[in-house]
């Protein structure tokens, strides 16, 4: 059965292409949420095996989304991978990411083989 991935990023083009790449092998089913304020609701509804979460988003940033997921006992266990194009490492360590205690941060542009390995590790195929 395909593993379910929730992809939260305001960049519609990026999410569309990442979805195509992940779904191509048939190993994943990807749901896109471009509006970060709806991310938690989408997680509740979709029950993903992993969440890919952008950091800088309008409305609600990745750190806030992560904090809300953590606060919800039903969603707190879902592994989250932060994806970010932030270039300054201090922004990452001082910012939302560190506070939210995310398991993994991957830089954008995304190295696809690396992302697949990470997903295999945090959300292994049944």
């Amino acid at each position: 059965m395909a593993r379910k991935i929730l992809l939260v990023d305001d960049e519609a083009g990026f999410t569309e292409l990442l979805k195509m790449n992940l779904e191509r092998s048939g190993a994943f089913e990807v749901r896109i949420e471009n509006d970060s304020t709806k991310a938690v609701a989408a997680a509740r509804e979709f029950s993903p095996d992993a969440i890919l979460l952008d950091v800088v988003m309008p409305g609600m940033d990745g750190g806030d989304v992560q904090a809300q997921l953590q606060a919800n006992p039903l969603l707190a266990r879902i592994p989250v991978v932060m994806l970010t194009a932030l270039v300054d490492s201090t922004e990452l360590s001082e910012g939302a990411v560190a506070q939210a205690g995310t398991q993994m941060v991957l830089p954008k542009p995304v190295n696809l083989p690396l992302l697949l390995r990470v997903l295999d590790e945090i959300a292994p195929a049944a």
Binding site: G13, V56, M57, V87, K108
Partner: protein
């Protein structure tokens, strides 16, 4: 006899030098008054009976002789606006001379009568004035050059602040491109419905990255001030692209409303972007300090008004900048942040005045922004909103190039040598 002494007395007390030469006798002097003695430092008894070649250098005498001959030939008065004679002790005397041909009926002689006014002091003050003016022009050029350097320095500072955000905005399309490449490199299936979409996205990503990089390069360029008719909405779009990251990160919404068919304004895009970036970043800081993520809002408004309306709305002092009947464009950047503290109101535009933490700003931003707006013939003010919390930055921009002011300036500096072309392009500088 008495009659003659009266004439001599008058001649000797005239404030001008008077002399007469006998053209029929080798131009020998027959009259030489007191003032002429003073000017030439030659006594009358030494001069009368001699000619120019006996008294002056060969070169001067040649010159005097040629003028005298011309006066005789013409048979009418001749004015020499400025001539220089060198006295025996080496002093240069500047004279304004009138030479008149006179036919002495009693003796039948042909005379050249000269009347010279000593204008040495006038010439000296004129030269002094020219020299001072040249210094003034040079100092003005240096000041303009320094101002341009200051503007550029402040711009580099804001580029530094924007760089991380711009890199982020470029990385997003790069991420998209890489995903496209990843997809395509896994093999191309001819009927794959995704292919067209992917290529379209990749093309869009390249264009987007190109646009933002080009925007930053244009913004960074150090050129002299060059103003072109520009649509204000275009500048606002470019600027919002450059500050997009700062807006997103601080969760600040921007609402842009610009009047339809706004007249063009004469802008130097790169320098004017610097003003808007500065004002928007200031507004971002102001709303950010307020908390309340939901409501952080910057409104950008533009409208066009006639000067009468401006005067009515903004106070009469605008009259100094704009002429009656001028059509102006008013651009406002309105935030709902903490506003301006009463103590700071009069210092906002002072160089190095800042309310931000060390390292966040140099305190030059607003003073440079105002200078840039003034170089555009416009005005920048900053005040608290009247009814709601927050501040409004208001730019009033002319819709015409202020040609008359340029003319006044060049007219003023023209006294000396003509002003050299200055590459600071500050011909519009009117202060």
């Amino acid at each position: 006899m008495e009659k003659l002494s009266i004439v001599e007395s008058v001649l000797d007390n005239l404030p001008v030098a008077v002399f007469a030469k006998d053209a029929t006798n080798d131009f020998r002097f027959i009259l030489w008054n007191k003032k002429q003695e003073e000017v030439t430092t030659i006594r009358a008894e030494k001069a009368v009976g001699k000619n120019d070649y006996d008294l002056f250098s060969q070169e001067s005498a040649d010159y005097f002789r040629s003028v005298d001959k011309a006066v005789i030939k013409r048979g009418s008065l001749m004015k020499v606006p400025e001539e220089i004679i060198e006295t025996k002790n080496g002093r240069e005397v500047h004279l304004r001379t009138v030479k008149i041909p006179v036919h002495d009926e009693e003796t039948g002689r042909l005379l050249v009568v000269g009347i010279s006014e000593d204008i040495t002091e006038q010439v000296k003050s004129r030269e002094q004035l020219e020299r001072l003016n040249r210094h003034l022009v040079q100092a003005n050029q240096e000041l303009q050059y320094t101002q341009m350097q200051l503007i550029q320095a402040e711009k580099l500072e804001s580029i530094g602040r924007l760089a991380a955000g711009v890199a982020h905005e470029v990385k997003n399309p790069l991420a998209l491109l890489l995903l496209g490449v990843d997809y395509l490199s896994q093999g191309i299936v001819p009927d794959d419905p995704n292919l067209e979409k992917i290529l379209q996205q990749m093309r869009g990503a390249v264009e987007r990255a190109d646009r933002i990089v080009r925007g930053l390069v244009d913004f960074s360029s150090q050129r002299s001030l060059s103003r072109e008719p520009t649509q204000l909405s275009r500048v606002v779009d470019e600027v919002l692209l450059l500050v997009k990251h700062e807006l997103t990160r601080s969760n600040t919404k921007v609402n842009v409303r610009m009047e339809k068919d706004l007249p063009h304004v004469f802008l130097d895009m790169s320098k004017f972007e610097q003003v808007l970036i500065n004002l928007i970043i200031n507004a971002v800081h102001a709303v950010h300090a307020m908390g309340g993520v939901e409501s952080r809002l910057i409104k950008i408004r533009a409208r066009s008004e006639s000067l009468e309306e401006v005067v009515k709305n903004q106070g009469a002092r605008k009259r100094e900048v704009f002429r009656s009947g001028d059509r102006v464009v008013i651009l406002e950047i309105i935030d709902n942040g903490h506003g301006i503290a009463p103590a700071d109101v009069n210092r906002l535009f002072d160089p190095f005045f800042t309310t931000k933490a060390t390292g966040v700003g140099t305190g030059l931003g607003l003073s440079v922004a105002r200078r840039i707006v003034e170089l555009h013939g416009g005005e920048l003010t900053l005040e608290n909103r009247s009814k709601e919390p927050g501040a409004v930055a208001r730019l009033i921009l002319p819709t015409k190039l202020e040609t008359s002011k340029v003319r006044t300036l060049t007219g003023r500096v023209k006294v000396g040598s003509p002003p050299k072309e200055i590459d600071t392009g500050a011909t519009e500088l009117t202060s």
